[in-house]
Symmetry: C2
């Protein structure tokens, strides 16, 4: 990606992120009982890149739709994403998210469960406010509810991996498809559907989102290993010492590569760097990176059914960005 | 209610509960990952009276609809109810529900959060399968999402009451309206809406459900005090020693009635019975009972806009049952 294209993508994504942030303010006001809505807004207001709702808007535009009309649908995707973050942080007992204290750290377990549940129903409420034909909105709701079920399944599988001796590549791929891929798929698919795209275009956008979302997750695993804490804000190799069974580790184990630091929570910085070097040498990091690129190239291919447009071009750039980013 | 009418109501409710139970089996199969779905089915399969989905079916029938066509919508209401039970039991740290171990006791905190989340999205999925016009299904989804948000608000208010010195009657009524009333309202309203009822009939059914649901909750508070454990399966006066701020207690405190056993978790059976006698003498129990009857009679009045039918008759009987039951 040239610097010029990167800058343009950045500008286009920022414009859509701003649209989403503005819509959140009017669609999720802090109202009675205020602390419940403050807890619900806590992570939403911390920002993040808003990649999922931006993908929904770009997909809708690529299908001939208007971003402003799709803003509430984009917000619904962002609210579902934030609901999963709040509940996941409880399950993972995570302290920090997006540079802020996790919701359960500030509002307690019950407050965080309820804040997540509230975002869940608000997502369906605001999706219902989209300016589109009722049958299209209903179709989008059906996509979103199916997606949420799949996300729960994905999170369940991820937790199950912790107590599993061995996880296969196929099992890992199923997990990230459900935990991460399907929400990107729903974002792109819903954007197209609500903009009135033909069924095969909706299916193509769904596949594009799902595959690039999986690529995004695989790259996330890579970033954990290759990016220093001062760049990522997260401890380098954190997944490694936490014994997370990423594709990188699955590849290493399948090739009988010994990684002594795996699951060693009190490992020194030097031990961690040694472990990363081992995974670099064994080709395990490169393997995950190549699988990520493979996903993204398949995703981009799916978009061939769509007519050329500026929005489609941005979707293709976004796909590249999702696996080329280093933090 | 004569014995004959009670028997007929019982038979009619049972027929609808059976329809719902059968539909659950096909709409919520235990599939991969199995333990997630087993956790989700745990309380659903323990039964309960299925009053909410039965109210949806009766409301639909009273509006000229067909119960079989509305079965999946009825299931969606039952799934939402069960999702709230699972998450509430975590928040209340409850051990037992419907005679079974609470979901979080068997599948852990994370399992219970996810099982609840799964029922939440499954509810919207199965509602989307209702045999009705798309615009009506969309209207029902909008009712359901608004309702779920209100339920979260109601649960939040209920938790807030624990740390509040004084709770007013108005605050209490708002809490039970949101925590219990609105789901009965949505059940009746959605049944009417999906059966094609006119807007004022849908509004009347919604009001009927909401008010009788509130009466149901008020009667629940009364039952806690007047029904012995061997009949109810719950410790008599449990709310009292747990310091739950029910309307009965609010009335007593407002009238400067002293109830020493209030909040005394280690109270003896004799102390509890003494406390109940005090609340009987002060008219506090009778006050809650009369408010419950008032709610139900207002709810029944709302149904006057509907034409006479067997289903409407059953709705009126159900309303009476909801405040006349003693367990």
């Amino acid at each position: 990606m040239t610097k010029k294209i990167a800058k343009e993508l950045d500008r286009e994504l920022q414009a859509r992120a701003d649209l989403v942030t503005e819509a959140i303010d009017s669609l999720l006001p802090v109202m009675h009982p205020r602390p419940l809505y403050e807890a619900g807004r806590h992570l939403v207001d911390a920002g993040g890149k808003r990649l999922r709702p931006s993908m929904l808007l770009l997909a809708g535009e690529a299908a001939g739709g208007d971003a402003a009309a799709l803003a509430s649908a984009a917000v619904s995707i962002e609210l579902i994403h934030n609901f999963t973050l709040i509940h996941d942080d409880i399950m993972d007992n995570a302290d920090v998210r997006r540079g802020r204290a996790a919701v359960h750290k500030l509002w307690g377990l019950s407050g965080a469960i309820l804040a997540g549940d509230t975002l869940y129903s608000k997502a369906f409420q605001v999706l219902g406010m989209t300016k589109a034909r009722p049958d299209l909105i209903l179709g989008a709701m059906n996509m979103l509810s199916r997606t949420c079920t799949a996300i729960c399944e994905g999170q369940w599988l991820d937790m199950e991996f912790e107590s599993k001796e061995r996880v296969s590549e196929a099992e890992y791929m199923e997990m990230i498809e459900k935990k991460t891929g399907v929400l990107y798929g729903a974002a792109a698919g819903m954007g197209g559907l609500l903009a009135g795209a033909a069924p095969q275009e909706v299916a193509a956008l769904d596949e594009f989102g799902r595959l690039t979302g999986m690529g995004f997750q695989l790259q996330d695993d890579v970033i954990d290993l290759i990016t220093p804490e001062k760049v990522s804000g997260k401890r380098q190799g954190g997944d490694l010492i936490e014994a997370k069974k990423t594709l990188i580790i699955i590849h290493a184990l399948a090739n009988n590569v010994s990684v002594p630091v795996f699951g060693k929570k009190d490992a020194s910085a030097e031990e961690i760097l040694d472990g990363i070097a081992v995974l670099e040498k064994s080709g395990s990091i490169e393997y995950a990176r190549s699988r990520a690129e493979d996903m993204v190239s398949r995703g981009k291919k799916a978009l061939q059914v769509l007519p050329e447009s500026k929005a489609k071009e941005m979707l293709l750039e976004l796909a590249d960005y999702m696996v080329k980013r280093h933090y």
